[in-house]
Symmetry: D2
Subunit: 337 residues, 4 copies
């Protein structure tokens, strides 16, 4: 934390701020300048909240100088966290692919998709049992029946399954049935849910919120990790911007930065990121090229009749073609698959 | 819904789309054009999901033409919903003010603030018992102890109390202690929580999410109302934009539009909206002038030592001055207070 | 500027950075910390570009600590700048109103509007002769003929006129005909144009760009002032956000902050800010209440047939009603009109 | 254009709208619905401005149904536009690379960079002679002297050169010296400049504005093409969002969509897109993988002492390594280089 005093701050003003610093248990360091005085603060363990100093009228600005996240930070743990679930591996140079329908709609739909994505080389089956929908009148998922169908699809194909949990009351049940718990974008700052999955004993895939900064995204992961669950996979799925021709703006530019900041693996969801199946293969290729640790892709046997996200779902045939080009680029950038 | 066919669509393409429309139970209407054919759809009750048509290759675009919200819409209920809690009234030409600390920190802090805001003319006491914080290491609220203190403050001052609920598992407890349930911005699309407060039998104040469109905001209210709870107060508290010098961007320009779209009352939170106590009074005055139905303002007896949101909290003296100018403008625009 | 070294920076790393600071003519100040060293920099006149230090691998972060704008800053000039044009006054406690059609469409349209807005109490006549339009196929303005009509309207009504200049080659001509030069939102960072109007010897109204931060807005004003032209009126006209139901998001929350940062007057354009004539009066009232120094409002005698911006234009009768309520709120907040 | 009447619109209301449609020279088509009437419009050549109908009180909504861009559209010209400048080719399956310093700083710096990027395989030399800077106190470029140095570097290396033009008054001079004219992001809607480069007889590279929608981006290209200059290369360089940890948000997700909408080539600028040299190679690889037609990369022999954009500039050695991996991915996706 660095505090900038106003140019007309008196000695008494400066001493008052230094007193507050000492009151908080830290050490103030005066830095005299040509036009104003700055006060550096040391002795703190983590970031100091600049709000603590915002009310002194003689302070021009309080500038935070360290990052608030700790356990998820590469400074604390320089090596990649590697997450293994069944045969799937995320992180540490291995590229994992999750694929399946947006929503579990029925046995036939799910099993057909599961077999198709396994044949094409996917490592994890995705499928929503609890669907957060903007409208209360839209299809909300098969709920417990959906969980059962996912377990059945796992038994039939050997693929581990990931599904979303949307309510703290469901965490135990979902953790019992699924291999990976998904926290969706709209719940990224549902802190009660983050704490609950932090205690669930299952790997968690955390999606970035629609308007979450990278720092908030990592702080949300910190919530989970701080409860003792280090098995967190981050997922970039597009952020909300002024552009409306694409469903979201897929923030691939953040990936190299996130890889520098945290040891956690991060995967890309090009289906939500673009909202249009015609753009998904190109973005999937870009995801490998940019250094992500994996993909989550929506696949549906009959997208035109899908109950949700039909426009962005690939047919099994298109998914198979996508996997081929993803493997080719993975080879170029040195990722195992 | 209007479907625009591509300019090279064949008669068979057009018939295929019309078949799908009939399959869904609606009626297609062909509109021949100079360069392409459009198909109007009638017979639907609510909005049709354009996704249902997005996979026909001969379709250029599917354009939704009606709003998806119903129960909260002024088309359905032209008259203002008026919400009365204790002596407070929101909507129908009466302006209500909620005030109090960001977080309940202790008995003395809460009671002193409650008495001060009542004396200045506030109608509802606010105070957070469960605090959603970006960092897991920040103060998270006094929880149940905080609820007890709020009940005590109500008994001491006669003011109804509002407090935030952040977990479906807490809804019953909070509904037992508080007069109004607050759903925070980060939980605006926590649909499980929206359904739970829809069944809680208490008025709900729903804050707009950081990146929620007006339509999503109204759809979140629709979730609550669709469970039978019509007692919903909307709250604009600032949205997230590229600007970082203000904490949020208070979207006052949306208020006249929201008043035209819905019968629900909407209040303004200038404290979160600007993040700086020096800007709060001006924005409070603007809120009355623009036609809002009320205010929520953070007040703290000693902002410099507040455990959260100190920089944006008013002292009781400043709040009292603010109330005077708010009353003067309310008189000009014809609002009762 | 404060430089944060990485926790593993060596003494040689630190000395290298200090050497670079001295090479630039400034003085480094070491601030030892528990986990890392910070270096404060003094001796600089203005803000130091953090980029100058971004390439030292042992630097964790370079944090700017002062504002880059100078001449427009209240620190440099604490008193309000007051701009007087004909009978109009902006700043220093007086509220000025500019009104007129989006585009000058013809003699009759302009003169009728000019007379109507003067009768309702406007102080300046606005009217676009050069229209920047998103499409090359839209009406682009009457250009020189428009300037002549504006001069004629001024002669007929006594109102000073403001019109937009969109090309450096037109600055002299427009400065000859108009009383105030407008720089539009899309040209806010057209630095060649800013320099040209800085030399034009006329007051300038500078609109905030669609995605301009407050700092960039003030830096654009600094361009004009740095050429010797202190007669700059700022204009907030709405920024671009994710919300599409309103044409722009009018950033009224920035006004108190901008008033603290700069001595220049700032006015509000609720017509572009909302894009809907039904919202304009409420936002105009909010603009006075929030402490702005004036308004710019689009008025057209026949909005349904306007060549541009019809949906957001007021009829003369609605404008007259708006002026009445604006005056009533100005009285409450102590502004002269 | 489709017009939705309100549910309570009378026959007279509907006839009034139909009359206006006919007055504009188009044909109205009534579409009766269960709850309201819609009116389809045919007979128009391009898009109809919905504003023309916004003032009828009985209209609920006017929905545009076609895109406003024409000449740049793939519907009008299905084949890729291929732009050849010297040995460089952009579009039609060939990938072109522009590289060089942000600003021309002097002969030695420019020539050293030019030789290095040519050796590494770049096809065009970039270098700014006129620099648009946020602050009037920052280095503004060598201007005409910079143009001479670029011409010298072309003579020495054989590489065609691209440089930015920022003022209509400079277009002829810059067009005389440079092979490609660059219009920068901040001038993307400087329509006077767009028209001027539309007449300049040189290829133009048009950068997307910081908050320009894809539609506005294409409309800006339409301005240039409508003046007869079809030699336009689009450039995505990052948009402005709420995220501040990256300089901009590189919108790679828009590339497949833009390729579907227009026949013009589009290249990526990962230097401005991320603002950090450590992220540039990963984003350059992603740019090839996503299907872009080329790259623009900032290279400087001594980034730590660059006069502008040092943090995002690559050293020649890093650029050479980047080109190798770009070529490997180009081979995978079938692009010639």
């Amino acid at each position: 934390m660095l505090i900038l005093m106003k140019s007309d701050a008196s000695d008494a003003d400066i001493e008052a701020v230094c007193g507050r610093v000492r009151e908080l248990g830290y050490t103030p360091h005066l830095i005299p300048g040509a036009t104003r005085v700055a006060i550096g603060i040391t002795g703190n363990q983590g970031a100091i909240d600049p709000d603590l100093f915002a009310r002194f009228p003689a302070i021009a600005e309080a500038v935070p100088v360290s990052r608030p996240f700790k356990l998820v930070s590469r400074e604390v743990k320089p090596d990649d966290t590697v997450i293994k679930v069944g045969g799937a591996v995320f992180g540490g140079g291995t590229f994992g692919v999750m694929a399946g329908p947006c929503a579990v709609e029925g046995r036939e739909q799910l099993l057909a998709t599961a077999r198709a994505v396994r044949a094409a080389g996917a490592h994890v089956l995705r499928g929503g049992a609890y669907k957060p929908r903007t409208s209360p009148y839209s299809f909300q998922g098969l709920k417990e029946e959906g969980l059962e169908l996912l377990a059945e699809a796992r038994a039939a194909t050997g693929l581990p399954v990931i599904t979303e949990v949307v309510d703290t009351r469901d965490v135990d049940l979902v953790a019992e049935k699924a291999d990976i718990l998904q926290v969706g974008a709209r719940n990224m700052q549902n802190f009660a849910l983050l704490e609950a999955v932090g205690h669930a004993g299952r790997p968690v895939m955390l999606k970035r919120g629609l308007s979450a900064t990278i720092q908030e995204f990592l702080m949300a992961a910190e919530y989970i990790v701080s409860k003792g669950n280090y098995q967190v996979i981050l997922c970039e799925r597009g952020i909300r911007t002024f552009e409306t021709m694409t469903r979201n703006t897929l923030d691939l530019g953040s990936i190299p930065l996130i890889k520098r900041l945290t040891h956690l693996p991060i995967i890309i969801d090009p289906s939500h990121g673009t909202g249009d199946y015609r753009s998904v293969p190109a973005l999937a290729r870009a995801a490998v090229a940019v250094g992500a640790d994996g993909l989550m892709v929506e696949v549906h046997p009959d997208p035109a009749h899908a109950l949700s996200d039909g426009p962005q779902s690939l047919t099994p045939a298109r998914f198979e073609a996508l996997m081929e080009s993803v493997r080719a680029i993975a080879a170029v950038v040195g990722m195992k698959m």
